[in-house]
């Protein structure tokens, strides 16, 4: 039986559908990331779970009890906010102690728990400091300790790392996951950073226009995107529009080039499909004539060094491709080289091609932006 359930949640703001019937079922101790671009409804969903807002329809169930209309102060949800939310008039210890005081815990009990939690987040030495004496990362650690102090039923994190610099972000996300696993606490994490979501979650739900497009394990989300939006949003994906020419052998036609894609087997001849190929699955070689089977020919127009791999942009007949190749190999394919890109028949993913316009992914505001 799921521990946290969001059942058919709807929330409108005027004419905007912020949530359009989302469904989530999360087991006890599991970590779910709500991932999506700005305005997709992920923070609205989190605020409904926290009780700061009420749904227009649907319900929220925690441990079998409907909490949809329970006030936030009675929900037992620990929350870490995107903005620094420590009480400025209290020290780090007093911030962590606040929820325990509200619950009427004894002084000795409170002090013991505060000490344990500050140690847990690596700030045992900073209990006497006020928020303005702590760095952003330290403040978010205290905020995490404060949220955990009340032993919440669900831990809610609303883009807690977005205001921090890259190095601290990576460090802190790993700590959040370590602590979550150590305490076995059910966690709902909102982020627009796919790397963050994929690296620390048990499950990822990609949201778009108030709906959950797909929910699954990070590996599933990456390797088997169920919709064009998820394919576009998670990682980098080459999109090739094609028409099935032979369903039995999985042959499709892409701009006059015939490709074999196993996923196209059993499709009807004439079906319009979208062939999705990850950049790292393309095999590049200097072109020799028109290339072999399952290949596209094009010219390398840019190279972007990414460390162990180099990203090549290839402009070819009918399609622009992105390919990631080992950096050592990229040196043999300089800009201007004509190359053949071989598609893996096995690894390519296939989706139905609809007349819907290509999804737009709005840019996320930076940490300093309003």
């Amino acid at each position: 039986m799921p521990y946290l359930e969001l059942k058919d949640l709807h929330r409108d703001f005027g004419t905007v559908k912020a949530l359009d019937g989302i469904e989530v079922a999360l087991g006890q101790g599991e970590f779910l990331s709500l991932l999506g671009p700005s305005g997709c409804g992920k923070t609205t969903a989190l605020r409904l779970v926290a009780g700061f807002d009420r749904p227009d329809a649907g319900s929220i169930v925690v441990d079998g009890k409907d909490v949809t209309h329970v006030s936030p102060s009675k929900r037992d949800m620990g929350m870490v906010f995107q903005a620094y939310s420590l009480f400025p008039n209290m020290t780090a210890s007093q911030n962590v102690e606040f929820g325990l005081k509200i619950r009427g815990r004894s002084r000795g009990d409170r002090h013991k728990r505060v000490g344990e939690l500050l140690e847990l987040v690596g700030l045992g030495h900073a209990g006497d400091r006020y928020p303005h004496q702590l760095s952003g990362g330290m403040q978010q650690r205290v905020a995490l300790a404060r949220a955990l102090a009340i032993e919440p039923r669900v831990l809610l994190l609303d883009e807690p790392l977005s205001a921090l610099d890259a190095k601290v972000r990576v460090q802190l996300r790993e700590e959040i996951r370590r602590i979550q696993l150590e305490l076995g606490i059910t966690t709902l994490y909102v982020t627009h950073d796919q790397e963050e979501a994929l690296s620390i979650s048990d499950h990822v739900a990609v949201m778009y226009r108030g709906r959950i497009e797909q929910m699954g394990s990070p590996a599933e989300m990456y390797s088997a995107p169920a919709t064009p939006f998820v394919a576009e949003f998670i990682g980098t994906m080459n999109r090739l529009e094609a028409t099935v020419v032979d369903g039995a052998s999985g042959m499709v036609d892409h701009g006059g080039v015939t490709l074999t894609v196993n996923a196209a087997r059993d499709r009807q001849r004439g079906d319009r499909v979208l062939v999705l190929v990850r950049p790292e699955t393309l095999e590049l070689a200097p072109a020799n004539g028109d290339g072999g089977p399952n290949t596209l020919v094009g010219d390398v127009v840019t190279q972007t060094f990414l460390g162990p791999v180099t990203r090549l942009k290839i402009v070819g007949r009918g399609a622009d491709l992105i390919a990631d190749v080992p950096t050592a190999k990229a040196a043999t394919l300089p800009v201007g080289t004509r190359v053949t890109a071989t598609l893996p028949a096995e690894g390519a993913r296939l989706l139905e091609l609809t007349d819907e316009p290509r999804p737009e992914i709005p840019e996320e505001p930076g940490p300093g932006d309003p």
């Binding site: 619950r103 303005h132 009340i150």
Partner: protein
């Protein structure tokens, strides 16, 4: 970090500003030292007269009590109101800001005539008593000062996040207000309180027209009848008002903590 040096021209301006405030005080002080009989310097006779004048202390106490009452009522009304407006109906800020300007625009004489008519039918324990009618009028007079001070204080903190953080930890609305919000707008509340104190201690028109004998009324009476003691009383009241403001400041401060007004400003 090297200390910034003050430019010589800044000293000139500082001296001019200090002279602007200090010269009248020094002149008043020298005047207050003159003898009532001979008009010559220097005697403390005027101060002795003030100290032994029961009316001086009685009216000073009444004005101080009225100031305290005004501050308490204003804070009790405006802190939750401004909090609620910032949290739930931020659009109303403009409307309340406009209303807060009315006591500035309406002359005190119009205000007092209007209030006297409005409260004419009320019980005498309210209408005829300074802590009823007069305190009500002073709360209205203090409204703009209190509102704009509190508004600035609330704008300097992230009211939404602090409130939601407090509630998610199990705090009720009153607990959130008293233990999270109020300590973080303390400087703003103190600023509003200073201004309310200063207004009430110096308010003359309403008290005079409503026939209440407050400290400014007494001061004006002494000024008409006893020139040198009036100067002494002015200086003493000035000192007492400043002492009251400083004590408010010390009450409002807490050791080891940066002013929350600044701490919340991000």
């Amino acid at each position: 970090m090297s200390r910034r040096r003050i430019a010589p021209s800044a000293f000139v301006w500082l001296l001019l500003a200090a002279a602007y405030f200090l010269v009248p005080l020094i002149a008043t002080f020298l005047f207050s030292l003159r003898s009532n009989q001979t008009g010559k310097c220097c005697t403390l006779h005027a101060y002795g007269w003030v100290f032994h004048n029961g009316q001086f202390w009685q009216t000073l106490r009444l004005s101080a009590e009225l100031a305290l009452e005004t501050i308490v009522i204003s804070l009790a009304i405006f802190v939750p109101t401004v909090y609620w407006v910032h949290l739930k109906v931020p659009r109303l800020r403009v409307v309340i800001g406009f209303l807060a300007l009315i006591p500035f625009v309406v002359p005190p004489i119009v205000l007092v005539v209007g209030l006297l008519n409005l409260y004419k039918g009320t019980p005498s324990w309210f209408y005829a008593q300074p802590w009823g009618f007069l305190a009500t009028a002073y709360v209205i007079l203090a409204f703009p000062y209190m509102f704009f001070s509190l508004d600035a204080g609330f704008r300097a903190i992230d009211v939404h996040t602090l409130t939601e953080a407090s509630q998610s930890l199990g705090a009720s609305w009153p607990t959130t207000l008293l233990r999270v919000v109020v300590p973080n707008i303390r400087t703003a509340a103190l600023a509003g309180s200073f201004l309310a104190l200063a207004i009430v201690m110096g308010e003359f028109t309403i008290a005079s027209l409503a026939a209440f004998k407050t400290f400014p009324i007494e001061l004006e009476y002494v000024n008409e009848t006893q020139a040198y003691p009036a100067a002494a009383a002015t200086l003493l009241s000035f000192g007492i008002t400043w002492a009251a403001m400083l004590s408010l400041l010390f009450i409002g401060r807490k050791r080891g903590q940066r002013a929350p007004f600044l701490a919340g400003a991000r």
